[in-house]
Amino acid sequence: MSAPHPRRAAVTGIGVVAPNGNSTEAFWKATSEGVVVLDRITREGCEHLPLRVAGQIRDFDPPAAIEERYLVQTDRFTHFAMAAADLALEDAGLSRSDTDADPFSVGVVTAAGSGGGEFGQRELQQLWGKGSRFVGPYQSIAWFYAASTGQISIRRGLKGPCGVVASDEAGGLDALAHAARAVRRGTDVMVAGATEAPLAPYSMVCQLGYEELSTVAEPDRAYRPFTTAACGFVPAEGGAMVVVEAETSARERGVPVRATLAGHAATFTGASRWEQSREGLAQAIRVALDEAGCAPEEIDVVFADALGVPEADRAEALAIADALGPHGTRVPVTAPKTAVGRACGAAPLLDVAAAVLAMEHGVIPPTPNVFDICHDLDLVTARARATEMRTALVLSRGLMGSNAALVLRRGAADAS
């Protein structure tokens, strides 16, 4: 597995729609400056629920980003996905005419964990309020996990291999690994990532049973992983799509290789079994490093899962130490998601976007609202830290028991 692949999978474009920015540039500025956007949930029908704080996207205007015929047949999570895909393709220098020239060479893969709850709720209200004849046909596609992949491919006319990963929060990383495999098998370009919209009333009620959910009402105290004040996580909406492209294709097109997807692995240790997630996450890290041909000491920064549940935080800190050895307590670790919340399967995508941008800028974004770490980690807390980085490790775990690790190398792989 450590032999170099003939077709390396590179990141050539990034598109972000997040609570702290509706463009990649705005996202990075807010992320690197540690701007906290967690706030009281104000969405209609949600104010009375015990879940009080989340990362909401407030200034995204769907009709400005997406044609009406696609808006009427899709949920908010797919609106984010289509908008982020546009941004990623534009960032990669791939216009509509470029992708039309060889549509079979461009595929799509997304991950989703929450689905189209807002759309689904509206149609279910029609069903029980007025009757089955008042449920629109687009209900049959809009609320399923697969909707974003399908709509991105239809809207952009992309005819390459398509897929959907539904593997919990860590599925965001698995989707990128799926894209990397498609590239290695011969597809030139994959539009890959995850977006979520779990802040509609129905979707929120579905989450209330999770004991890991923070119900703290003060935004600056609701999500503080790795501290003795850890009280669970807060959800978020949005996400990111990236263009995963064969390095050879990027070179032929003359576009920069931002990073390479060097190694990935996923494991499963069972729902809410956080103590066991230590072993699963450590194993995912080891296998991902092995695939990347990467020694533990080469990891320059770790983007942590940072669930914010004491038992889970402890397991993650120990997993990093188990897999990276003594380097695990020295390597800078960050969790910028404390500024925006955890966007289900899209949470690790925001971390991947931040990791690539961090390596490019030589700046590790901070972990806002987190002080007094109670684990043996070098967590980058209040302020960003300037440092040269070549390799980043992104970690993710899901409430249902998935664990995943992704190794990213900055720039073109053969430059190292």
């Binding site: 009406e68 015929r69 004849r133 629109g136 687009y138």
Partner: protein
């Protein structure tokens, strides 16, 4: 409410059910074109059929949702309305 579905009403339904903006005059002139030329997919047409059934309180012919063109669709649904009247 008219007992016949007009091109104007079809244009309004295409907007409401499928988010497609088309001027009635354009729809009238291109009645032979396929619905796909306007960007209307099969689920969108199915939604229009459902909306008509709710509005007029009468079932539409099963083939209505399989119509290829506005002319074919209007002929089918209007014959059903005429028969039900």
């Amino acid at each position: 409410m008219s007992d016949r579905i007009t091109v104007e009403e079809l244009a309004e339904l295409m907007k409401k059910a499928a988010g497609i903006t088309v001027a009635p005059e354009e729809l009238r002139q291109q009645q032979e074109s396929g619905f796909d030329a306007f960007g209307l997919d099969s689920l969108g047409l199915l939604g229009i059929v459902g909306e008509l059934e709710n509005r007029y309180g009468t079932p539409m012919p099963p083939d209505a949702e399989k119509s290829k063109s506005p002319r074919q669709f209007l002929a089918l649904v209007n014959s059903a309305l005429l028969a039900g009247a």
